[in-house]
Symmetry: C2
Subunit: 231 residues, 2 copies
């Protein structure tokens, strides 16, 4: 083999290694999202992806590393689905806050995670534990909280959310509405309207006169209003 | 040994067996409440209670039986702490609904479970799974939801909650507020006021004129009002 093809071959091996790692992580995340991180086992995972346990160890080294990689992947998935598109969308004022909540609900409804463990279950389970995994889960929860808070503040700077309200408190309240909606969704199944109406009512209560009250009359009116303000 | 003392000795053995079983379950519940049911292991549990694995098997027979017993114990603990005292208290009208929510928050704040897995984490983790354990967890969640709904309806019959509201919807909304409060509590630590103020605001929005509006002005006013209507 000449130097060039040796180099290409190494690059190919690396790419293949990365792909395999991704496939293992996808499967691990499906399992963890369904039953919790506690249900991950190197042995079962190896069977599910048709590898030997030692082959799997090459990629992750330890159960703890695997768990960390799963949490990181779940975190990336969450932020790429909910937060990044919203913050990079150029949406302004109160609409950014709305979109964060709307996408968060979409994540639950569309079952982007195979189960409901991430991050609601995971946080409840890990919140008071020590260690690097609980810490990473808590970090994700805090990052999410901060994204909500930032969106409230952006809406305030934009003059569409009342200056007098406490952004942290509103972030916690909106998060509570979302959790309640996830719970209802788990209990009752499909209902894409009720949770969004509750979010809309909350937004109506913190909006300034910049936004016509009629915009908050119904979800339909709200969507029409958002449509109307786009360039 | 004469007949009488043989009988006494059997009774003592039974009581001792029950006590041991309770002790094992207490320890198992502490573990599961912290890390989830997935972290329960017969081996670790045996070490924690200073028994042999085979000795532990005498009491539960299988890991699944142990998990079921833990869920049942958690469920009993929850209902004995929140629902039964409320329903047996003879509290009337809207006060019963308030007390359910107040005790639910107390359960989280006082860490009646050693961790936050039961039942919020457990339900998120198990909601879409099949099997007898997820089913028992879901049953507990439904029983709780029904207790809330029943309290709303009782308040309606008592003329203190508006007839026009949908009891199921209010039960879900109150539950959402409670979950949001639990989450805030996990993120932010102690705050016994904010969640109760949010519950009180929700009650104010569904109360009839039977209750003076001034009662809802603050938590202090609310407690004073409740005090004043007791015989």
């Amino acid at each position: 083999m000449d130097k060039k093809s040796a180099k290409e071959s190494t690059a190919n091996d690396l790419r293949k290694g990365e792909r395999t790692r991704e496939e293992i992580l996808d499967q691990a995340l499906r399992t963890a999202a369904r039953g919790g991180l506690g249900t991950l086992s190197i042995g079962n995972l190896a069977k599910e992806v048709n590898m030997s346990k030692s082959g799997l160890f090459v990629h992750f080294g330890s159960k703890e590393n695997l768990e960390q990689a799963v949490v990181d992947r779940a975190s990336d998935l969450f932020f790429n689905y909910v937060v990044l598109p919203t913050e990079e969308s150029g949406l302004e004022g109160i609409e950014q806050l709305w979109t964060l909540c709307d996408l968060w609900l979409g994540l639950v409804e569309d079952r982007v995670f195979a189960g409901d463990y991430f991050f609601t279950g995971a946080f409840c389970q890990c919140a008071r534990q020590d260690g690097s995994i609980p810490q990473r889960i808590a970090e994700t929860v805090w990052r999410w909280h901060k994204a909500l808070k930032r969106a409230v503040e952006k809406g305030q700077r934009h003059g569409e959310i009342l200056d007098t309200i406490d952004s942290k408190r509103i972030a916690l309240e909106l998060n509570g509405l979302l959790l309640g909606a996830q719970w209802s969704h788990l209990m009752e199944g499909e209902d894409r309207t009720q949770a969004r109406s509750a979010i809309l009512a909350k937004l109506a209560s913190i909006a300034t006169d910049e936004i016509p009250a009629s915009a908050f009359a119904s979800l339909k009116d709200w969507r029409k209003y958002l449509e109307s303000r786009r360039p």
